[in-house]
Symmetry: C2
Subunit: 284 residues, 2 copies
């Protein structure tokens, strides 16, 4: 286990070093073993989980309704199949007390994760957590990483732009103010969910002056433009899950309505390629 | 549980009735909850699992190396999310003895499956099972279904065309002779893996004069042509897994090489649509 811990420390440090404005980190979010392995094989230097993608694949809506053990076993399978660092979307930490948060984060690290997303949305009440409480979670996780001797890379996410109040401008201000608190609480990166427009991204990044994560959505600026705006990291979020389910819908319509299989066979991988995705790349 | 058993009997009978030459059953193979739910929503009257798709999604190559409990829990999640009948690829039954086969099939039925695929390939030795032994498995499962009072729909698969010996013609003859034995042992449908050419399909179906399953592959004749040839059922096999992994490869290349996200956003479903795929359709 000592070597595993050393290996995890190295991965955490490697992952943290990938967050530098000016050289954007493109971070794909996977939900199972083969999606994660395709991303590693494609050359991404790290992989993350998508909470929605992973949970729905197991039959639970995004949030904290999935049994934690089921969530953690999926994280463990994905981490075990990768040789690059894995960051795990821990939603709001599966709990409110220090004890619950500690249990969640320790389990994620034990499952092989070296980075986490932690958000300020309370899935039980359907409202934003008070900013002090959300910042406190981040401080606590930072200390926990020191205790575990794993320099966990913390992505402090605020849902103010979707769940805040007031006009779009007021929500952006709230996101900036919350992200500032999460930055000061010890995050390595901040993540204003829903920030997609170049003008708002520019304001946000200038105000924060800190590694910022944006998510792929239709209309998100080009990677080079994000880089110019100073964005440190762009993640897929659940986009790849949305895309694959869209493909299944099209393929279904094609075979039912047209009687052909082009959507299933064009650009598809082979049986041997699929099987190779089942095991770690470095064991092949 | 009585109502569940009645419900399963009805599903098995409904699924069996879908096997009638002249009106082809298009059977999509899923590997997790949302892939299965997209297929049900698309209007397919039944769904099957893909052994390769399901196993690789959990980090195991196709075959019988996956822990049986992990396999069964995935089957249970998929069955629980569907209201249409679910047929389960049981590979070679996860064992050789009657006791092992009984345990596997009972567990699949308890997990919610009402149909099974059983193949004549020995995953441990890498060779075809003796035909008598494979037919005996089918007879045993037929009797087991009666004992369980669930009229399990058995798809007897032969791998003679890929793992048999001799010329293509000899392999086709071997597939016909094996499938005849599986038909006579009590299968509801026979499945000559690798049968894709119209001429061979025609010979096979005429010889068997029995519901026959073919699998989607590049070059498989059009659905209407399969119907004309008397094919009773066409299944996706792992084709949808191959296609979705191909999409992830293209999307990865696009974002890395081009800096754009079209493969991720074009034709994609939404967050709300993804979340709805997490739970049974009849509970929404």
């Amino acid at each position: 286990m000592a070597s595993t811990r050393e290996n995890q420390k190295e991965k955490a440090e490697k992952f943290r070093a990938l967050h530098s404005p000016g050289r954007i980190l493109i971070l794909p979010n996977a939900w199972d073993v083969p999606s994660a392995r395709v991303f590693e094989d494609s050359g991404f230097p790290a992989v993350a989980t998508s909470s929605a993608g992973l949970m729905v694949s197991l039959g639970y809506a995004d949030g904290e309704s999935i049994p934690k053990d089921l969530f953690l076993s999926a994280v463990g399978r994905i981490a075990g199949a990768l040789s690059v660092p894995l960051s795990v979307d821990a939603v709001a930490g599966f709990g409110d007390t220090d004890h619950e948060i500690e249990s969640t984060i320790k389990s994620i690290v034990e499952a092989g994760g070296i980075g986490i997303n932690i958000e300020d949305y309370n899935h039980y009440s359907g409202t934003l957590l008070p900013v002090e409480k959300a910042a406190q979670k981040i401080k606590f996780i930072r200390k926990l990483g020191e205790k575990l001797d794993i320099p966990i890379v913390i992505n402090g996410r605020t849902d103010a732009m979707s769940h805040g109040t007031g006009s779009a401008d007021e929500k952006l201000k709230e996101a900036i103010s919350r992200a500032t608190a999460y930055r000061d609480a010890g995050s390595d990166c901040v993540y204003p969910m829903g920030l997609t427009e170049a003008a708002s991204i520019e304001i946000f990044v200038k105000e924060l002056d800190f590694p910022t994560n944006v998510m792929v959505r239709r209309g998100l600026p080009h990677i080079r433009e994000l880089e110019r705006l100073g964005v440190a990291r762009v993640s897929f979020g659940p986009a790849a899950s949305y895309a694959t389910m869209g493909l299944l819908k099209r393929a279904s319509r094609e075979v039912i309505d047209e009687g052909t299989y082009d959507s299933l066979t064009n650009g598809a991988i082979t049986f041997d390629e699929l099987n190779k995705l089942a095991s770690p790349r470095n064991q092949q």
